[in-house]
Structures are given as structure tokens and as C-alpha cells.
């Protein structure tokens, strides 16, 4: 598949999905954060969605890095540098690969999630977006090992991310704003894990 246009479709789909879910994300963030995750993400994705029209990109790497910088420069908050770094590393790992398959994208996904980890230093169980990223990555790898194609691997990643996201409900937050609430953070779903699922669902729809 022509990677660049697929990635552009991904970003345009993701912007739409974030737009539809902005209020939900903000509501989740209002419960255990500061009620801005929806608007933060919208601010970024409305800009990334417009990139493809405004500019010509040589390859996927250049495009995805620009997506990352655009998120970093527009989202702010915790999620800006985290999603931004994800795309910066994703792009960096893809290089000038023209076609993407399960293996290529898996390598890039590892780099991207590694970026989230390096920036945020969260562990599984801290009730952050990493709780969605980590099982997603594991499930993706397992699907590839089982011989799955990109579609299967992304489907697995989505399922893994969803499980991770749902698991955040019962957790006590140990990173990010929600950690200030201590025990009171229990019983609420993490906003960043929620948008991570949206991003992977969007990838499944557009990349595979």
C-alpha cells in the first residue's frame, strides 16, 4: 500500500474521531484530571489533518515527523509531548519505506511506544495511556508471530488496547494529574488510554 496516503487517511480519520469524542474525553478528564483532554487533542488533530493539504511530503517519515511536531506544538498538556513523541519516533523508524506491512509497521510501533515510555516514564498499572499502548504492542507482536497480516495485527492491537483501557478503571493513578487524587481516582477510565484506543481503531480502519 502507498504508505504516505494511508497515513494521511489515518490522520484525517483520527481527527474526525477525536472531534466526535472530544466531549467524552473531556468528561473523562473532568472526573480525574482537569477537563481538557478533549480540547487538547482536538487542537492538535485539527492541525495534523490539515497538513496533507497544505504541504507536499517526500515520504511517510517526513509526514509522520511533521505530525509529531504539529502535535507537540499544538496540543500542550501531558498528551501533547506523549502523542507527539509517538509520531516523531514512528516516523523516524519508518524511514523512506514505501509500503507498509505488519513487520515494518510493528518495528515503527515499537519505536513510537518506546517514545511514549521514554517521555512519560509510566509503567503498566499507573493508569495512563501506557496502559493501553503496552498490551496493544504485545498483542500486535503476538499476532505477527502467529502469521497475521497488518489487518490482523492492528485488530489485535485494538483489542489489547481496549483491554488495557478498560483495566484503567479500577486502577489508582500513579502518574499524571489523576495521581493527585489518590484512591479517588479509582472507578474512572483514563482519558489518554481512551484516546489511544481511538488512534489504534483509526489505524485499523485506514492502514490495513
Amino acid at each position: 500500500m502507498a504508505a504516505l496516503s494511508a497515513f494521511q487517511a489515518w490522520m484525517s480519520d483520527f481527527a474526525e474521531v477525536i472531534g466526535q469524542n472530544a466531549e467524552h474525553l473531556t468528561d473523562l478528564d473532568r472526573a480525574i484530571g482537569d477537563g481538557d483532554h478533549g480540547s487538547n487533542m482536538t487542537r492538535g488533530t485539527s492541525k495534523t489533518a490539515a497538513l496533507a493539504e497544505a504541504e507536499e511530503f517526500d515520504n511517510s517519515a517526513a509526514y509522520l515527523k511533521k505530525v509529531g511536531m504539529t502535535l507537540v506544538s499544538n496540543v500542550g498538556g501531558a498528551s501533547g509531548p506523549l502523542f507527539g513523541t509517538f509520531f516523531l519516533r514512528l516516523g523516524g523508524a519508518l524511514g523512506d519505506a514505501e509500503d507498509i506491512d505488519a513487520a515494518t509497521f510493528g518495528k515503527a510501533l515499537h519505536a513510537g511506544v518506546g517514545g511514549v515510555l521514554a517521555r512519560g516514564k509510566a509503567e503498566v498499572g499507573d493508569k495512563t495511556m501506557f496502559d493501553a499502548w503496552s498490551p496493544a504492542l504485545e498483542a500486535y507482536d503476538a499476532a505477527v508471530t502467529d502469521g497475521g497480516d497488518l489487518q490482523a495485527a492492528l485488530q489485535a492491537a485494538v483489542d489489547g488496547a481496549k483491554q488495557g483501557r478498560d483495566a484503567t478503571v479500577d486502577l489508582v493513578a500513579r502518574k499524571g494529574r489523576a495521581s493527585y487524587l489518590g484512591e479517588r481516582s479509582k472507578g474512572h477510565q483514563d482519558p489518554g488510554a481512551t484516546s489511544t484506543v481511538l488512534l489504534l481503531e483509526s489505524a485499523l480502519r485506514t492502514l490495513a
Binding site: 506544538s73 498538556g77 500513579r174
Partner: protein, 334 residues
């Protein structure tokens, strides 16, 4: 939602226009990057002081730009950290050749964004950047496995004290060490009677019954650690003072700067009622308040409530505290 605004999306840019219009004698505003600068910087050989954070805490930080305090403040979206581009631009602009100190409140968003900015500023312009991260909120249990305590009231006192030191010619290391000491020797505890409403969200961040208050709030409209029954000022003062005093290990004979800070919607008369109770408690404990601030300095939009900050001071800090300062939000000696 009732606010004196035009459009929830334009509150910050409109306010920055207003700040620029009101204080052209002391500050200038880069509207594109949303940075407030002092008019007379950068000064060759002076350490640059850059802070910033989410908007909605006014006068923090933009109101503390000027002689004897900050060189630049980056305004983020409401309650949202600014982005690295802003800090980078500010850092380069205030660089007087001897380095720049970033004053960062400890929130994941602020820390990550300032971190990226520092990396980029050093890589791109070779500017030496050091960062002090304030984490004075005793409402938050600190631990190696959490995001740590929030940065709140001490940030105001730190910007004043380190601002004076920088004005006075302190090196980047000296500024950093002083800032670290102020952060270590200061602590804060806050409470709210009402939630606030982020303009873009349009509804209060949390709900509180008519006879309830939140103890241990931060400055982003986030719920506190505990919802309690409304209590008299005297009891609330104890709930704020005791954890701060015990966190700092303050003892008889210690001297402090005290700040009774309003969250934005609290009338001054109530802050004085609270200050009176706090002063009585400190007095009874033999802790001497050398200087104090009573008013709105680090706010949460229109939230009703207050926070108490105590900073254990030595002569050096007091000297810097008393040094002239001329900013829209804090002024004396000039």
C-alpha cells in the same frame, strides 16, 4: 456559564491583548507565540528567567514579568501547559549569554513540554538551560512511584526571590541553587468552596453540595483529596496550616514568609479572616511571619477558596524578597 468573555476560544488571546494594552510601560507581548516579555530585556550578563504554564492562574505568570522577577512568561491554553515552541522562543529571546532558568510547576504536561523545549533550545541555539521544578503542594503524597507533588504557591515566592537574585547578577548555578532551596523550604495547602468552569468545557469541573468543601485542591479545578463538610474559618485554617508546618518541620523560632492566596472568586475580606486565623496558629507555635502576601496571586479562574503557602526564610531570601520589583502583579521599592 457566566463569564466576561467574547468566545471561549478567544479568552486567552483577548486577555493577552488586554494585558499588553494595560502595561506597555513594563511588558510587551508576542501575541503569535503567547509570550509576555519585560520591555527592557534581555540584559547582557543577566540570567534569563522563563516561566509559564496553563492560563487561568492570573496574575501568575504573566503578571510577574518585569524588573526583579521574570523575563518572560509563556501562556498556555486554559489550565494546559504551553507548548515547547513557546518556551523555546522565550528562552532564546531572554538569553543574555549566561544561561536561562526555567521555572516549571510540577505537572506532567508542564514538565514534559519544558523538557522538550530545553532540549531543543540547547540543540538549536546552544543556550544553557537549567530547570527548577516546583512541587510544594502537601496535599499530594509524594512517592517515587507517582508524578510527585504539584507546583503551586511557592512558585510565586520563588519567582520573586530568584528574580531579585538574577537582577542582582547571580549566575545560572546560583539562581538554580537558590530556586531549589526555595522550593525545598516552601510548602502549600489549598481548599475550595466552589469549583471553577473552564470556558471551553462550559460546566463546572466538579460538583460540591451547598454544605461541602474540597480540601487539598490544586490550581486546575481538579477535585481535591477529600470532600468535607463546610467548616468555620478557624478550622479550615488549621487544616491548611498543620500539614504545611509539619511538612516543613517548622519549629519555634523559625521565620517564614506567608502567603494567604485567593483562588480567584474569594473576596479579600475573607482572605483577611483566614489570614487572621493562620497568623494566630503560627503565633501560638512560635513561628514568626517576617513578610506576607494576602490576595489573589495564583488562581483557578473564578474558584472560591484559598491556599496557604509558607516559606522558611533566611537572610539571603529576605533580602531578595525586599528588593525592588515592578510587575503588574507585584510591586514595591520602585
Amino acid at each position: 456559564m457566566k463569564k466576561l468573555i467574547n468566545d471561549p476560544d478567544n479568552v486567552i488571546s483577548d486577555a493577552l491583548q488586554g494585558i499588553a494594552a494595560a502595561h506597555p510601560d513594563r511588558i510587551k507581548v508576542d501575541h503569535e507565540n503567547r509570550i509576555i516579555y519585560r520591555t527592557d530585556g534581555p540584559r547582557e550578563g543577566k540570567v534569563g528567567l522563563v516561566s509559564g504554564g496553563g492560563s487561568g492562574h492570573e496574575p501568575l505568570h504573566g503578571g510577574f514579568v518585569g524588573v526583579g522577577m521574570l523575563d518572560a512568561a509563556c501562556a498556555g491554553e486554559m489550565f494546559t501547559s504551553p507548548v515547547p515552541d513557546q518556551m523555546m522562543a522565550a528562552t532564546k529571546a531572554v538569553d543574555g549569554g549566561v544561561g536561562v532558568l526555567h521555572i516549571v510547576k510540577n505537572y506532567t504536561g508542564d514538565v514534559l513540554n519544558f523538557e522538550m523545549a530545553a532540549e531543543l533550545a540547547e540543540a538549536e541555539a546552544g543556550t544553557e538551560v537549567r530547570s527548577v521544578v516546583t512541587d510544594d503542594d502537601v496535599a499530594v503524597q509524594d512517592s517515587l512511584f507517582t508524578a510527585g507533588r504539584r507546583g503551586v504557591g511557592v512558585t510565586v515566592l520563588l519567582e520573586k526571590i530568584v528574580g531579585a537574585a538574577a537582577e542582582d547578577g547571580a549566575t545560572l548555578d546560583e539562581c538554580f541553587n537558590l530556586a531549589t532551596r526555595v522550593n525545598e523550604q516552601g510548602a502549600t495547602m489549598g481548599m475550595a468552596l466552589t469549583s471553577c468552569t473552564v470556558p471551553a468545557a462550559g460546566k463546572p469541573t466538579f460538583e460540591l453540595a451547598d454544605d461541602e468543601m474540597e480540601i487539598g485542591i490544586g490550581i486546575h479545578g481538579e477535585p481535591g483529596r477529600e470532600t468535607k463538610k463546610l467548616a468555620p474559618a478557624k478550622d479550615i485554617a488549621a487544616m491548611l496550616t498543620e500539614p504545611v508546618v509539619s511538612d516543613l518541620g517548622l519549629a519555634e523560632g523559625d521565620t517564614v514568609i506567608a502567603m494567604m492566596n485567593g483562588m480567584g472568586g474569594t473576596p479579600l475580606i475573607e482572605l483577611y479572616v483566614m489570614y487572621n486565623e493562620v497568623a494566630a496558629l503560627l503565633d501560638a507555635a512560635g513561628i514568626k511571619v517576617e513578610r506576607n502576601l494576602v490576595g489573589n496571586y495564583i488562581t483557578s479562574l473564578e474558584m472560591a477558596g484559598c491556599s496557604l503557602t509558607l516559606l522558611k526564610v533566611d537572610d539571603e531570601m529576605l533580602r531578595h524578597w525586599d528588593a525592588p520589583v515592578n510587575t503588574p502583579g507585584l510591586r514595591w521599592g520602585v
